[in-house]
Structure formats: C-alpha cells, structure tokens
Amino acid sequence: MTLTVTRSRRAAHSAPSARWRSRKVQGWLYAAPTAVIVGVLFIAPLVLVGWMSLNRWPLLGQATFNAPANYLKIADNPLFLDAVVFTLKYTAITTVLLSGVALGLALLVQERRPGVAFFRTAFFLPGAVGFAAAGLLFYGMLNNDFGPIDPMLQALGITSEPVKWIGTPNMALFSTITLVIWRFAGFNMLILLTGLQAIPTEVYEAARSDGANRWQIFTKITLPLLRPTLALMLILSVTGSLLAFDQFFVFTNGGPDNSTVSMVMVVYRDAFFRFDLGGAAALSVVLLVALVGLNTLMMRRLR
C-alpha cells in the first residue's frame, strides 16, 4: 500500500505535466459521445423549454421576452388547477391498485411450476400494446353503439341496459384505471418477480424450519426484502401516472365535462389548441420541478 502511494507520487513528480494533460484529454474523449448524447437529447430541450417559458412564443416569427407573465398566468388557469387535483387523485388510486395487482400476480407466478411460463407471458403481453392502441381498443370494446362488452353483459343478465363506461365522471375514471392496470400490471409484475427471485431460498427455508406460517413469511421476509424493488415500482408508477396523457387523450378525451383532464393534457391544449407555446412551456417547467422534487423525496423515504 505504502509502496504504491510513494511510487505514484514519485511518478507525478517526475512525469511532465503534458502527459497528465493528455490523460485528461483522453478522459474527455472517452466521455465525449455520452456527453454529446446527454447534451443534445436531454440538456438542450430542457434549456429550450426553460427559455420558451420566459417568452411569448408564436408559431411562426420572433419570440418576445415576457417573463414572468407565463408563470403568473397559471394561477388564472382553472382547467390546470382542476387537472392537478384530478391527476393526484388518479395517481393515488392507480398506484395503490396497480401495486396490489402486480404483487398478487408476481406471487402467483413466483415459483417454477408447470404452466407458469404461460401465465407469466399472458400477464405481460398487454405491456407490449402501445398506449394509444390500448386506448382505442378499450374505446371500441366499451362503446355503447358497437362495442361487444355491453351485449355480452346483457346476454348474461348482469346488466339490463348499456353501461355508460365513459359517460359519467366516476365510470370514466374507473374504466381508464382498468385500462391502465390491464396495460401495466404485467410489466410491474416482471419488476417484482426479479426482486422476489433475488431473495435467497435459504432465508425461506430457515423461516419454515423455525415454524413460520405463510403469512408470517410474507410479512416478515418477503415484503422487507422486496422493499428496494417495491420502491422502484412505486417511483415508476407515480411518475408515469403524474405524466398521464395518452390514456385520457385517446380513451376519454378529457370527458365527460372535463372530469378526466390530466395535467399533461392541459399542456397539450395550451400548446396545440391555443397556440400558447410559452404558457405551455411554463406549465411543463412547473410540472418538471414538482416531479423532480417528488422523486427526490420518494428516493429518500423509500431507500
């Protein structure tokens, strides 16, 4: 140990600084491709959005600096304020239900048994469907005019008339959450499955030989050891839900009566229907800051 230190010190003394510099350049060169990608794909758009949010930004022509008008306007945007409340509600319900269903599915297919591969694949398959396609699929299936679900329910005697799947605020939320769980439960199951399989079997064996029952094993061993994986899933679910867009845009169109308008939908509306690009950028920045804050908090609490 001492020997290495003295040797490197001597090397530093004797070697010309040019060599040290060339190593530094080499380091930069190694990092350059990543730096360029990060710069172009991540930093530049962020800076641009930040700059847009400080300007009146027309579709064509010159932008004019107007800060902080775009930010002040947010307080005067009731649609956005309603959307914040709705998105938080949606996020809470979705995250709880999604975690529950995903954990249930993961426990079901945790052990290697004949046929388990089939169920793992079946649960995961909806994850391969794009959100827009899934939204259209549900829209078609649940449509009161031509969808197959209503006639089936009526034939089975479960309902007597078409269910207003997206016709009332509560049903629209319920239908969308069903869509999201169908689409994402398998994916989250996969994440949890990797966590479950990382738990050493010896721990279970030891618990069983100590006489622990299934419930004790689940609460005292599985859940605590699954904590890091659950945390990852929670962060993914919360972030994804707060940024919800496609499912509402395609499936409910924000309706009925603006009851399912998510925050990103308001950003989209301001940018592409009202052509207020600066205002939309300001909303995006607010959303970004809130998300970074929330994620930092969750990382700290869940680690």
Binding site: L59, L60, D257
Partner: protein, 386 residues
C-alpha cells in the same frame, strides 16, 4: 414539380376528387395527406413551429382567422385580385380569409348544415313523407312521433345529435338562432350572446327531445367522429346533417332535405367547410397558386364538385347542368347566401375544443343545470378575448 397539400378527414372526399382530377390533367402534381379531423389543429401547430408546413393546406373555415393572425398563410391578395370571378367566390369564406384588408385563402369546400329526413320512416310513422319540418317546434313534433310510433325496439330513433361535441352543437343549433333573426356573438367575435332568449329556447326544445328519449340513447356521449353515421343506416327520422354527406348516402335511400329553421320558422345554415391557402413558408408559391386557382375554375367546380352534388365555391356557377338534376342540391346552393359563418379569432379553443367553455355550457343547457348558463356564457366571452 410536386407540391404537398394537407386536408382534414371531414372534407377528405372533395379534396381527393379535386387532387385526382388535377393530377390527371396537369404537369405539376399534388401529393395529398389526409389528417384525422380531431388532430388537424395540433398537427398544423406542430408543423408550423418546426417550419414544416406543406405548400398548401386546407383549414376548417372557422379556424382561418386564427391561422392568418398567426401568420401561417401567405398573402395572396394580388393574385386573387387578378381573377375574373373574384367577386363571385363564396362570400363567408372570403370574409373569414381576410385580415386587415389582405386576403389569404380561397374557398375549398362548402359544408352547410341542413335537416335531412328519412321519407320511409316518415311514411311508416304516418307523417307526410314529402313535407319536412318548417320550424324547430315542428321538427321536435316529427321526431317525437317517429320515436313513439317506431322506436319501441330501440333500433329507430326520432332524431340524433352530437351531445358531447362542441363543433356539432355549433353547426346544428346556431342556424336555428340565426333563422329567428338573433345572433350568438358580436361581429368582432369577442362577446358571447349564448345566454340570450332564442338560444335558450333552442336549447330547451332539444332538452325536451332528449328527456323524451327521442334522441337515441348515445347522443349524450357522442364525441363527434360518429355523429353522422346513424342516419345513413336508416335509423334516424330527422336530424341536422352536413350537406357534404348527401352525395355519400345509400343510393336507394329516400331522403328529403330542408333548411334549418328557428323555433317558429325562418331559414338559415352554418356555412362551414374548408378554405385553401398557401403556407407562409412554402418555397413553391407559383406552383401552389396554379393548383388552388384551378380548384375554383369553371372546370373543377362544375365537373368535379357539382357533378358529385357538392356545394360550389362560386355563386355564379350555382345553376349548372348537374345541379338542375337534383332540386335538393339547388336548395342547398341557394342557402349559401342566407347562411352565416361566425367570425372569432379564438373560435377553436372556445367552441371546438372539448376542454373549451362552450361544450360545458351546451351540456349544462341540454342535459344538466340550465341555470348555470349565464355564468358559463361569461366564461365563453373570457375565452374569446384571451
């Protein structure tokens, strides 16, 4: 040379016919892209922001004032001035394509709202199949009769409307207000008059139709894309429809067409449709003009538009060899002069956008708490002035 053109799905058929005929007879070619109607506005906005607009694009005529004020269309005042028939171009389309005395667009398609009635269903319900309704009250009576006589099995309905679609309300309800001599906005498009007595009465008549279940069970949820789909299947007695759908109806179906009336009579229509302009960023302005100029020529108007029962962009060609064959087309053509196209810079975000204030007002008035209308009307005015 090939120029690019965008149009929205709502008036796709007409654009496709014009482009096909042009490409057949001209050296320059037009490459047409059709975009779903709901996505049109966002697509234009995104393309404009990226300076990637096509050479020529059609726009819903009511959006044109907003587009011109955003600088999306090229100024073609001088080119239009040289046209021999410049004063015969559809007046409302020309009015909405003019900003600060400069002209930016030509009329592309005209889509008028009219009442269609199904003659077979009228006959079966004991109504006179040759007499359409002359007032909104009579319209409601006809719809109710058909519902009561033929609606038992749930297949046939008295009428239908797009109850969760802002543009549909505007297109089908406002003409009743105009027919009664009233207005829904001031001339500048900055103050909403949707809480005034005639509009209130129109809402009330439709509300009663809904409450009597004469409007079909899904009217309340109809978001727009499928609202015209039920009539051609023979399931609806009488309803407001776009005139462009007349040429698309099943050949064997017997359909009567009549102007939209006010509660007690009168006649009017919403002169909708598309206007066509050269985008401000186009590098092929001359070729683009050659095409859009041709679309309003005698040849294109008569042999492409009139031949397919479409309303013409030029009033001087209204009487032509094709329109004479179908009195319904003559009637629709004659409405162009009586109808209106509302002007407002903020039309789209106020009336068409599902998150805009108009749809909330209309839905409260027809399905919900009508006493909220005055307060929501103030929201519309606010949106118009933003």
């Amino acid at each position: 040379m090939t120029i690019t053109m965008w149009t929205r799905a709502a008036t796709q058929t007409q654009s496709e016919r014009l482009v096909a005929e042009y490409n057949k007879t001209h050296k320059n070619q037009v490459k047409l892209t059709v975009i779903p109607t709901d996505n049109y506005q966002p697509r234009i906005a995104a393309a404009a922001g990226a300076k990637q607009l096509p050479d020529v694009f059609a726009a819903d005529v009511i959006f044109v004032p907003n587009y011109t004020s955003q600088g999306l269309f090229m100024d073609i005042t001088d080119r239009i001035a040289a046209l021999p028939y410049k004063d015969k171009l559809a007046p409302s389309h020309m009015k909405l394509g003019t900003l600060d005395n400069r002209q930016y667009t030509l009329p592309h398609t005209l889509d008028l709202s009219v009442w269609f009635w199904n003659k077979d269903l009228y006959e079966k319900a004991g109504l006179d199949p040759e007499q359409g309704p002359k007032s909104l009250k009579e319209f409601a009576q006809h719809a109710t009769t058909i519902q009561e006589k033929l609606g038992k099995d749930g297949k046939v309905h008295g009428t239908f409307f797009g109850g969760n679609c802002g543009g549909c309300y505007v297109f089908t309800f406002w003409p009743s207000v105009w027919a009664a001599g009233a207005q829904i906005m001031n001339d500048e498009g900055t103050t909403s008059l949707n809480d005034q007595p005639v509009m209130t009465e129109v809402f009330k008549i439709w509300r009663e139709l809904y409450e009597k279940k004469a409007t079909g069970p899904t009217a309340k949820e109809e978001q727009g894309p499928t609202w015209t789909g039920f009539f051609p299947k023979g399931e609806i007695g009488v309803m407001p429809m776009p005139s462009t759908t007349l040429g698309l109806m099943p050949k064997e179906m017997k359909i009567g067409v009549t102007p939209i009336a006010g509660p007690d009579g009168g006649e009017s229509t919403f002169v909708g449709g598309d206007s066509l302009g050269i985008s401000a960023t186009s590098k092929n302005a001359d070729a683009a003009w050659e095409f859009i100029n041709w679309t309003v020529s005698d040849q294109a108007q008569v042999e492409v538009m009139a031949k397919n029962k479409d309303v013409l962009a030029r009033t001087d060609l209204a009487g032509n060899k094709y329109s004479a064959e179908d009195p319904r087309v003559v009637m629709i053509n004659s409405l162009v002069a009586k109808g209106q196209t509302p002007f407002a810079l903020r039309f789209g975000q106020t009336y068409n956008d599902p998150q805009g204030p108009w749809l909330r007002l209309a839905r409260e008035a027809v399905f919900g708490d009508a006493s909220k209308v005055p307060q929501l009307n103030a929201e519309i005015t606010k949106s118009l002035q933003q």
